[in-house]
Symmetry: C2
Subunit: 424 residues, 2 copies
């Protein structure tokens, strides 16, 4: 019961304390809520995922079904204001991920005469595994005009260098980049949307929404306990994903260390986002044999075309009766495989999207790709370069946005805050 306690039940409990959000007095509440689930390895769909810890939640924690990703521009040059907002955000995030409201419905000293400190649309809903994962873009260190607005340019990690241009990129700048990002994942989209909306509300005057993206139907598993989901091309996606249970691989391929060159990023990681529009109407007119050849896997079960079952390793050397490889040289599964990319592995955590239709009679649909890795330039970049040059799938997809963010380590306790290592 404690795990599914609802916001509505907690309104009374939080009471006056909620009005003191800005003063940081409510951290204890969030910690308390956290301790309820700290021992739960696999939370139920309504439960809370612990907010505090060595790493941020929403990376190796089990991928939820729904996404609301948002990128912000910082619209002030005032470092103190930015830091104050980050403190406020962190407290609100701790509360919301624990299933509490962001603040009281009324405000301190005159409940009804001030705007509510929570927008209300998640009242009565359980925590729903909400995770909020915070990141910092390269433009925060030095903006488009070359200005070091916040005195942090010297602290920019090498791994956060801009991504190169890839062949075929059709990036739209207005939905790319961003000074800050928050990945909100939950089992209920209303809970994810509520969280992003309240962070935007708290950040009024300091940040402005640059773009935001809803997603559904996670397209990768982050745990061996999760079934492999399907992308909108109808194929299982992320079978070979880096998974939480591979602890050595996670240590080596996912988490940044102080030795990588940036102290403040130890225990953090780097996020690459790519919005990939699919021309699904063209895809839907392609034969099953061609679709399977392009992926290098069978569509029904997801087994490699070299034989076996879904989780069997593809045999890239195996040839058919005609002497040709069963998995073509340009098949997606071959090009994306670690053996084709110097051993590079990614923790993928993308989502399907449908943004209505495009005015040309087609659904505006595809994949919002997200991958976490220790160094994008050694992991995402070689893989994507390989895919961009050779993958036949490129006939059916177009990369329309791109983002790269440093994801700091986890928030340790109620006195800590998002970005403390960078600004502290």
């Amino acid at each position: 019961m404690a795990h599914t306690i609802s916001r509505r039940q907690l309104i009374a409990a939080s009471g006056a304390g909620a009005g003191l959000l800005a003063a940081g007095a409510v951290g204890a509440l969030a910690v308390e809520a956290r301790s309820e689930t700290a021992g739960t390895a696999s939370p139920g769909p309504h439960d809370a995922v612990p907010f505090y810890g060595e790493h941020q939640a929403g990376i190796v924690t089990p991928a939820q079904d729904r996404l609301h990703f948002v990128a912000f521009d910082v619209i002030t040059d005032d470092r103190a204001k930015l830091v104050e907002m980050l403190r406020d955000w962190t407290l609100a995030a701790a509360r919301m991920t624990a299933g509490l409201d962001a603040g009281a419905l009324g405000a301190v000293g005159g409940p009804a005469q001030a705007p509510p400190q929570d927008t209300g649309e998640a009242l009565g809903l359980p925590p729903s595994q909400l995770t909020l994962t915070f990141g910092v873009g390269g433009s925060l260190f030095r903006d488009a005009k070359g200005r070091d607005r916040f005195g942090i340019a010297a602290r920019r990690p090498a791994a956060l260098e801009d991504l190169p241009h890839f062949p075929g990129d059709a990036l739209r700048p207005e939905i790319s980049g961003g000074d800050l990002c928050v990945q909100a994942c939950a089992q209920d989209p209303q809970v994810a949307v509520h969280a992003v909306r309240n962070l935007a509300r708290i950040g009024m005057g300091v940040v402005s929404v640059r773009y935001s993206q809803l997603g559904f139907g996670r397209t990768s598993s982050t745990s061996t306990a999760q079934a492999t989901p399907r992308n909108l091309m109808g194929f299982k996606d992320g079978t070979a994903n880096l998974k939480a249970e591979e602890t050595d691989q996670v240590r080596d391929h996912l988490w940044a260390a102080a030795a990588d060159g940036s102290d403040w990023m130890a225990g953090g990681t780097y996020l690459v986002t790519r919005k990939i529009r699919m021309t699904i109407e063209t895809w839907d007119r392609t034969s099953l044999a061609e679709q399977e050849a392009i992926f290098g896997r069978d569509k029904g079960e997801g087994a490699p075309l070299s034989g076996g079952k879904e989780f069997d390793e593809p045999d890239f050397a195996k040839v058919g009766d005609d002497g040709e490889p069963l998995i073509a040289d340009v098949a997606h599964v071959r090009l994306a495989h670690p053996t084709s990319n110097g051993g590079a592995r990614l923790l993928r955590r993308g989502y399907n999207f449908v943004d209505g239709s495009d005015g040309l009679g087609r659904l505006d649909a595809g994949l919002f790709f997200m991958s976490y890795q220790r160094d994008p330039h050694k992991q995402f970049v070689p893989v994507q370069r390989n895919l961009a040059r050779h993958d036949i799938l490129n006939e059916y997809i177009r990369h329309v946005s791109s983002g790269l963010f440093a994801i700091p380590p986890g928030v340790r306790d109620a006195a800590d805050y998002w970005g403390a290592g960078l600004f502290g």
Copy 2:
């Protein structure tokens, strides 16, 4: 177990039959799947909702949590082709709502050399309460050029007359109207998206997607067993909604009868859609007292400001200490109430939406309003006229799209099809 049988399990069972979709041979499968749940008043989240019946599902059946609404333009003038597509659609809809694929992954006579008859992204997912509700717009009877393309102009119901212009309307024609519509609702967005996408695929060359809209967090209950959800203004919405259990009211206010003037619409109803953009950033800066005065209800519990609890009738005559009505003359709850609109009631079935952001630093969010009623001109129109003229809420909302569709009665069996009464 039978209720949660997955598409993957059914691939083998459907086998060759699935390849014969166009020949109508698979209706029996869907009927069989239906009979599994026919006796279930309240299906579980993974179960199937019966497709065949006196009325279409997706109206008084319990509102699911996710929406994919789509409007189509008919791009052929060939009546026979249109009717053939409607037959194919109906069979695919019967299959998909039963948790089956739309057709086989391979095709008849050469499985791998033809495009799949199902796009695959819902393989392995349960029925998830999918309902597909079909409708016909006024432009199908006479198009923008005044042409009666399909010889049905004389059968246009009076209730399908175009809606009038309302004060404040900011309608965008490209996301309004439509010759045909399908409302796909499910507990899983991937299942709803899959259904719409496969109908679009089957209709290639006959229809083109005019616009489509995803929604989440149903904003109305259609049954007394459902809790009242909240809209993105944070208020409970649809407390006084027409509900399935009010059988006399449903008969009088929802279902069309032959006596209404159109035989083919007996047992059907009419759907009004309005996409309502909310300026949530402005709303979020409004005090709690003002927000509650605008709605005429308290935000936390949803009780009328005249006192009592959520489901207590508002007392519009009750005044406060200052002699003013506790529920203002221009409060939303008063203006929308049947007593202010000649007794008109609506069955509302809308959803919240967030379509990313608008490029001006704001979330593009609001309500995709849908209401079903026997005669929109006697029900939706007077209510909306009243709201458009007086509702203070108009400062925070803008109607950007509008649709009106005739929703025919239910499909009786596998020989029947969507629109048979109109074209048969």
